[in-house]
């Protein structure tokens, strides 16, 4: 085929991008700020930490360590000794369902609902 890009490709690209952007928008609209952070190691829950308390938690696995930090109701991984360091460069998470994953250490840090309601107080 001599052509580099035809209508078919444009349609494919537009369809995929539209679907992806739409689902992204829906995810943002439907998501709430989470109350706690659940740490999974190897598929099992290791600990649950509240997001409203600043904390540093060292996740130790057989394969290495990850330093989980909670600051300003956001969670992120400050340091890790995994070979790729993707988890350290990840953006901070705070919305329900968001995760930071360290594949080599099989660590998943997930924002979960928690008992916290969204409002501190409601006036009537």
């Amino acid at each position: 085929m001599g052509k580099l890009i035809t209508k078919k490709e444009l349609i494919l690209i537009i369809v995929v991008l539209s679907l992806a952007f739409l689902s992204l928008i829906f995810l943002r609209i439907g998501s709430k700020k989470g109350g706690e952070v659940t740490v999974y190691v190897d598929g099992k829950v290791e600990t649950v930490l509240p997001l409203n308390e600043d904390a540093n938690y060292e996740i130790s696995t057989k394969k290495g360590k990850n330093l989980l930090c909670i600051e300003n109701k956001e969670a992120f991984i400050k340091e890790a000794d995994c070979p790729d360091g993707i988890c350290v460069h990840h953006k901070k998470i705070s919305l329900e369902g968001e995760t930071i994953v360290c594949l080599p250490h099989k660590v998943v840090v997930e924002v979960t609902k928690g008992d916290e309601t969204e409002y501190d107080a409601i006036t009537q």
């Binding site: 490709e9 460069h89 953006k91 998943v108």
Partner: protein, 182 residues
């Protein structure tokens, strides 16, 4: 719409020489490895894992268009294992192999049926690659929330897919009358 690549005609008229095959495959493997390494050196941190250019895939895809797929699969597989041993770890090999297998299979089918141009083939390859990797990650880590990465990855994958597709398409055109394989 059917086209007879001149490379095929050339190949038929020459005896298959296993030494030449290995030499050529080794060359492509070397290029793929170097490209992988270089890409690794400049980390374009987007804050989301898995977003990368995938330039090494351009080598594999170019190879796909020069051969019937088996050679591309070989170079792809060996490249992934070597890269994993050199720069990564066992898990990275598993994820990459899953992604590459799905993507190569899809690209082979789409290319054979001539549904798309190289750009389309590349985009489909990229999409399948991301989907397969997410699925494997979800299984190995037993966490379904990982699927939330899919929209962003698909967007990035489509963009890089177009870029790689254009690159490979141009390369194919420019090397149409050259001996680039066997």
């Amino acid at each position: 719409m059917t086209q007879l690549p001149s490379n095929h005609l050339k190949r038929e008229s020459q005896k298959k020489n296993p030494v030449r095959t290995i030499a050529f495959l080794g060359m492509y493997l070397g290029v793929a490895l170097v490209v992988s390494y270089l890409e690794n050196l400049l980390p374009l941190s987007v804050g989301i894992p898995g977003v990368k250019l995938g330039l090494a895939n351009s080598v594999i895809m170019f190879l796909l268009y020069q051969t019937n797929g088996k050679e591309a699969a070989m170079v792809s597989g060996i490249r992934i294992v070597l890269c994993g041993l050199l720069f990564g770890n066992l898990f990275s090999i598993i994820y990459s192999l899953a992604g590459a297998a799905a993507s190569l299979l899809g690209m082979y089918i789409v290319k054979k049926k001539q549904w798309f141009t190289p750009v389309g083939v590349s985009v489909i390859g990229g999409l399948l690659h991301n989907i397969a990797q997410i699925l494997v990650a979800m299984c190995l880590l037993e966490n379904e929330k990982i699927a939330f990465y899919l929209p962003v990855l698909l967007i990035a994958g489509t963009v890089t897919g177009v870029f790689i597709g254009i690159l490979v398409g141009v390369l194919i055109k420019k090397t149409k009358n050259m001996q680039v394989f066997i």
